[in-house]
Symmetry: C2
Subunit: 235 residues, 2 copies
DNA sequence: TGTACATCAGTGAACGCGCGTTCACTGATGTAC
DNA sequence: TGTACATCAGTGAACGCGCGTTCACTGATGTAC
């Protein structure tokens, strides 16, 4: 948290990261359920009890892993949004950057994706701090849409008008936090886009496209493009 | 599998179901990772070793649970599709029946939904037989669309035309099995609908709508309707 | 720069636990004649 | 209907395992003066 002053602090930070790295490796191989302090200690060549100098126990380590995963995903998403912003591509091209990044992130660490969007570990509450990176991710995703909107290049949503009034309160938090100037139907559309992205990535990562969608990359690209059109982006 | 002839067979069937019921109850309380033969035996008041007369071990029991969950979901979906078919409602109304059923099914057994669509249990392969109920579910979901199509009431998809040729091979299995007469873009649209449904249900069931979507039921209804319009259903 | 003391990292033994699975057994249920 | 035998359900003890966590300890690193 604070910058390391002494040599001891530096080592401590390094070892903390090493523990997390080993934990992530074991997560990738065995899944969250099999994550064990003893086997992490074994991998690091130290006594199991030593880990308690770094984490308050198994649950605290798991919390750190979850928070770290959210943060990593949010970081990459923000970077992708920024790069796309500077790229000078058209709206659709810039929009696709974050979804693509999310998919690659998930494919390269399926178990961490599962930690974030899969079945929650039961009897265990995700740390409150995840709200922050979650919001960063959402903001990065929506950014190209907001920019298109501000530039007058986002068409008003046409579908579902009659339900706008009813749905207003239901999506109010997202409306205020993410896209205050847009119409309710646009906000609803953005949430549906969120659902289709998470759904498509989860289905692929969790192995449900087997014998169903033979070219998940192409399908995902098409889905991302169609989703953008559905909320009013034009090519 | 075969009908019980003797009293012994009847008892055997009953106890098998009782074991599965207890397992499901423990699944609901503790999640898949905590599922244990010993605690199931304890709940049933019998020796742990006795369970081996009914299942070949923990993995076999888990397989049975997964297969049973798929089957239960497929059964309810088929029934909902059939009821809707007979109801005489309009296309949109009949279309919504299966998605609604899926959502209710998932909300009433979140951990079983997680077993099917959450992070897969690592080092463990889902049984092959799940292909059958999975296909039944898909068929039930698509049925109202196929019927609308056959009645000439399904509009041709307009978005994404240029990608139709590229995507054809990618979605060929679904095209052939589920909707052979439709255009490629329609098939792609159906898969996107599948993704948005699974995504929306998973996000709700796994707790991601907290402080985000305040009225998940209404949001889901709107999503279902919008999804149908996107693949060409008219109200 | 040197000394005295406090802080911290890591050890290793021990705790109690619940787990899946095997195995030889007992007694009840079913089958063939 | 009765008997002899085979099949099956369930028991209870035992196996070896890996787990999270605690605790008193040693020795190294940092701090104050």
């Amino acid at each position: 948290v604070s910058a390391p002053r002494t040599a001891r602090d530096r080592i401590r930070l390094e070892l903390t990261n090493e523990i997390l790295a080993v934990a992530r490796a074991q997560l990738a191989e065995q899944g969250a359920a099999a994550l064990s302090l003893r086997s992490i200690a074994r991998d690091l060549g130290m006594a199991p009890s030593a880990l308690y100098r770094y984490f308050d126990g198994r649950d605290a380590l798991l919390s750190a892993l979850i928070l770290g995963a959210y943060t990593s995903l949010a970081d990459e998403a923000e970077e992708a949004a920024e790069t796309a912003h500077r790229s000078g591509g058209d709206d659709l091209e810039r929009w696709a950057a974050v979804p693509r990044t999310m998919r690659f992130w998930a494919l390269s660490r399926p178990h961490e994706w599962g930690l974030l969007f899969g079945s929650p570990v039961p009897g265990y509450q995700a740390p409150e701090e995840t709200v922050v990176p979650y919001a960063r991710l959402a903001t990065a995703l929506v950014r190209p849409l907001v920019e298109a909107f501000d530039g007058g290049r986002l068409a008003a949503a046409t579908a579902g008008e009659p339900t706008a009034a009813e749905l207003g309160p239901a999506v109010a938090p997202v409306h205020e936090a993410l896209f205050p100037d847009a119409a309710v139907t646009t906000v609803v559309g953005v949430l549906q886009v969120w659902a289709v992205l998470v759904g498509a990535i989860s289905l692929e990562v969790f192995g449900h496209w087997r014998n169903t969608v033979l070219d998940p990359a192409r399908f995902f690209e098409a889905t991302v493009a169609d989703a953008a059109r559905a909320v009013g982006l034009r090519a």
